[in-house]
Symmetry: C2
């Protein structure tokens, strides 16, 4: 078995079509949308940004000033009321988690496909409502787990599901950053009402969801411990360690913190080898995949790809082909329930089983 | 800051003396003593093997046949009764955990220094009694944590306690092997009465103790989940994931399994960098230390050393210099209490605080 670095980053999901590019309305113009999503779409093959939606027209106009091809700038109210629906085919919702439902439901009403940031909402109930709205309207809903179109994560999934390290037994994951360094990002993330929780919710979801993706399985029970040391984090979680129990006795142990150096690792140990990826969870960093198994042994340092561009192009290419994009809302709800259970566990000091 | 590979494996603890080599009685002649401890002492500078103790004289004689310098072969009873006490200065106790007390108490009675394998005993109570016996007799007792004289772990401790990665926030550890492949080793390890527990006890102690050593701190609370999939493990633990809470909100997440490919990693993430060691926990494998901090950045692959030789020479050199060796019995008792709490947690599904 060999990993071909020449084709490592190829898009195994892509098929060319004659369809027009998918036109996006960007809903929420915080730094992630401005610095990551919009540039990714500018660089994308299958989509384009045509509408910008924000709290005020001024803010949307400011962002539009630096962009080609924007046909409308709207307030959230105008967007909800159905303005400019001829100018876009799909929406990308990237607002505080607790506002996702407010912005997804109008998209469903207008018959637009939805790419919604993760976690789906601040509560399981609102996430459920948002998913139901899309299902009722028959619009495709994809949750923006950018790791699921990350070539390194996809190659890891292929290797592991192909038995490259035998049966997986143990999983270790870590993700950290220094959130307070991004001042305009911190306010809503530190407010559990708007965010649904801080560190477990915000970055714990990366090892949680990526492990689900790589294994193709969902956790059955969880445990978490959270800590808050700095005063800014009072009432929410700054550091956490958590466990996920997968079927067959597979156990995942993870740590996450919003107050340490940028770091990211995901390791799978199996009956016949191990596979480790450093740098996986960040959008534009070098990924290093090391795998050691009976038929494969090596260290791979593929050229980094723009994870957001891959995600947008995947979503758009699926729509062009008339196919539902994945991961869907039901997939996202599994994480919502797991995160709720993790916080319940942190509160009670007890293991929590998932239904 | 730089790690000098030329001196990486130097013995920072060693001082030459005029004293004679320390003469060891090897108590318990299982494969670890025969294949690891005795060859290590043959290769050592400050000690020698002069007495062999086993269940029968025949077994001890068989082992003696391949060795130079053995002056006496004893049964456990003869050893306990004080035979050949002129022929050795110290004992190395490497029997099933639940027999350590039986073999340490006679050494204390005979005024001999003790190097006792870890964990100290099968129960906290027997471990406490063993430590008390050595203290009452005034004999030095060191617990055989070979990682504490492992050059890579010592350099990691220096770097971390010297602030190379800022303040540590998260720790990830993993250790795995395939215990059932070592048939004559498995019987007592699968018997909780003799072992005190299987996987958490047997190999969980490596990330637990090494994290304590590197941080210079002890856990305040723990959580564990254990799993047993194969029938051989019924009634004991085959896989585990556990968490350790250290002071200042530092959280460690670990996985261990006796049923996966040999693998070992220990990672510290701090406010200003990270430090990771692969291969650390096994005696003769290649260690790879990667560190990234404001003043140091690099990957170190020092020549492996024989961990058991380093441990025996350290212990012997301390005795030659009239100094107590470390880690001592009280240090070992902290792990005993942590392991008991981990099993209690696994039983109840609850976080357990340490007194």
């Amino acid at each position: 078995m060999e990993l071909d670095l020449e084709t490592f980053s190829d898009r195994d999901w892509e098929e060319p079509t004659d369809a027009d590019p998918v036109r996006f309305a960007m809903v929420g113009l915080g730094w992630w949308t401005r610095e990551q999503a919009i540039p990714a779409v500018e660089d994308a093959d299958h989509c384009t940004t045509t509408v910008l939606v924000s709290s005020t027209t001024e803010k949307a106009d400011d962002v539009a000033a630096g962009l080609d091809g924007v046909e409308a700038t709207l307030t959230y109210e105008e967007y909800a009321d159905g303005a400019a629906t001829e100018q876009y085919d799909a929406v990308y919702v990237c607002t505080p988690n607790g506002r996702h439902r407010d912005h997804v439901e109008p998209a469903a009403d207008h018959g637009k496909a939805v790419l919604c940031e993760k976690p789906l909402e601040a509560t399981v109930e609102d996430a459920r409502a948002l998913v139901d709205a899309c299902q009722a309207a028959g619009v495709p809903l994809m949750v923006a787990y950018r790791l699921q179109t990350e070539p390194t994560a996809r190659r890891a999934r292929e290797l592991i599901q192909g038995g490259a390290i035998g049966d997986v037994v143990s999983i270790l994951g870590h993700m950290s950053d220094t959130m307070l360094a991004f001042a305009d990002e911190t306010t809503w993330r530190l407010d559990p009402e708007l965010s649904g929780g801080t560190t477990v919710n915000d970055i714990g979801i990366y090892p949680l969801n990526t492990t689900r993706f790589v294994l193709g399985e969902d956790p059955q029970a969880v445990y978490a411990r959270t800590e808050s040391e700095q005063p800014e984090y009072e009432g929410t979680d700054e550091h956490a360690a958590f466990q996920l129990e997968f079927p067959g006795g597979r156990l995942a142990s993870c740590t996450v913190t919003h107050s340490a150096k940028l770091a990211s690792t995901l390791r799978f140990v199996g009956t016949e080898g191990e596979l480790n990826i450093d740098g996986l969870f960040f959008p534009n960093t070098r990924k290093v995949l090391r795998v050691s198994g009976p038929d494969i042994e090596g260290e791979y340092r593929p050229e980094p790809v723009d994870q957001m561009r891959e995600e947008f192009d995947y979503f758009a290419n699926r729509l062009q082909r008339g196919l539902d994009p994945e991961p869907d809302g039901e997939h996202g709800l599994v994480d919502m329930r797991a995160i709720r259970a993790l916080y319940e566990s942190a509160e009670t000091g007890r293991r929590v089983e998932l239904g």
